[in-house]
Amino acid sequence: MISAFIHKFSSPKSYVRLTEKLYPFFIVLGVSLLTLGWIWGLLFAPQDAVQGNSYRIIFLHVPSVIFAELIYFFMAICALMHLVWRVKLAAYLIKAAAPIGAMITFLGLFSGSIWGIPTWGTWWQWDARITSTLILFIMYLGVITLHGSFSNLIKADRLMSILVIIGVINIPIIKKSVDWWSTLHQPASISISGGSSIDPSMLYPLLISIIGLGFTLISLGILSSRSYIFTREKNKKWIAEHV
């Protein structure tokens, strides 16, 4: 029954039709919220008592790192669906999401480096959190490279899904590394279970930036996945009817 349900709602055709309607909503919402969050955070949020204005990179860095992990988690769920229920759309979504995940992870590392200079006096530190995020970036590259190495795309989808599932072990390591090892990196600013350690005047633009980036990345993912679906399904009748 579960299998029938999944296959009913996860055909590439249904996905393309659904995302055609959702995409304008997501892109407008995403860009608007991101712009609002960044303008508020960069121009109107107060200075930090210790770091001064250099903390403002938080509005780029924190959302980037959050989504670096979330995108991989999403890929892992898709990988599970592909391996267990043979949902080919899931494989297409992994292939579309991986470059976006790599890009946002790189942005997180880059913005973190910039933040490190005024804060720690160094642009790089081999501490657990930063190293784990670098490992995540390498994982994304591994997924992209692995899929691209095979001419048989069905085989490539399966192997890519296996790699993603195994690599998901890295996500809790990154998440908890700040707590498990003594590290230069500051602890999490926002916690799902408890309160946050930053002032509401900074927290609200941060949350808006996070939500805005989320919707923007979903929009990018929709564009990327639709393009890839058209490539993979190009011989199917419904593509000709759609296009």
């Binding site: 190293t131 995540l136 390498i138 490279t145 692995l146 095979f150 085989k155 296996i162």
Partner: protein, 216 residues
């Protein structure tokens, strides 16, 4: 299973470069490093363990490169599939043989060289145990990378397996510190044994799925 272990031991011993090569590379790196750097023995003692750890990482990768490639290229994987219907036993046998014939000697070499740089004699067993367990974890990880990338070159194998290997290296570093400071050794060893057993049971399953995909 015994059949597979016997045949893997036989094949590995026949391929001298696959078995002896990594051991010689390890010895070469551990000898070459102190010769190549002009610092006092006291300073060398402080970070020689890092050299051992990095050498273990490199030689483990080199040792497992092409682990499944030969069987894939010559059609032995298909023959094995006809006999067993999956590759779990094959993967388990290969990893076991590689750890036994290459991993344990690498750990022994690392432990011996650690003497040269300040580790007390009564810590020899601890260093050997830690390095052996690390090799068990690393060989599992690199075998997985090899199974994914079979005939696609070393770069893909590295990209696939290095992100999983680096947490093992972090764990290895923490375990070395427990010897240096004399605290928490039992708990870290228990953790490594637990992860080692879990990996040894699960990784062949995943490797089997990857190999089946390759021959499909």
């Amino acid at each position: 299973m015994v059949r597979l272990i016997k045949s893997e031991i036989f094949k590995l011993l026949k391929k001298l470069k696959s078995w002896l090569g990594p051991l010689l590379i390890m010895i070469l790196v551990l000898i070459a490093f102190p010769l190549s750097i002009d610092i006092s023995q006291f300073d060398l003692d402080k970070f020689y363990f890092s050299i051992i750890v990095v050498s273990i990482l490199m030689t483990s990768f080199v040792a497992t490169e092409g682990m499944f490639e030969e069987d894939f290229e010559d059609g032995s994987l298909e023959q094995e599939f006809l006999l067993e219907k999956d590759f779990y036993k094959l993967a388990l046998a290969k990893i076991f043989v590689f750890v036994f014939l290459i991993g344990i000697p690498l750990a022994l070499i690392g432990a011996i060289f650690s003497f040269a740089n300040g580790v007390a004699f009564n810590s020899f067993a601890k260093v050997f145990l830690i390095l052996s367990l690390s090799n068990l974890l690393l060989f599992n990880v690199f075998a997985f990378g090899n199974a994914l990338s079979i005939n696609k070159g070393a770069m893909l194998g590295v990209l696939s397996s290095l992100p999983l290997a680096l947490p093992v290296i972090i764990l290895l570093g923490s375990s070395i510190r427990t010897i240096q400071y004399g605290d928490g050794f039992i708990s870290i060893i228990a953790l490594m044994i637990g992860i080692g057993l879990l990996m040894s049971a699960l990784m062949p399953l995943i490797i089997s799925a990857a190999l089946k995909t390759h021959i499909d």
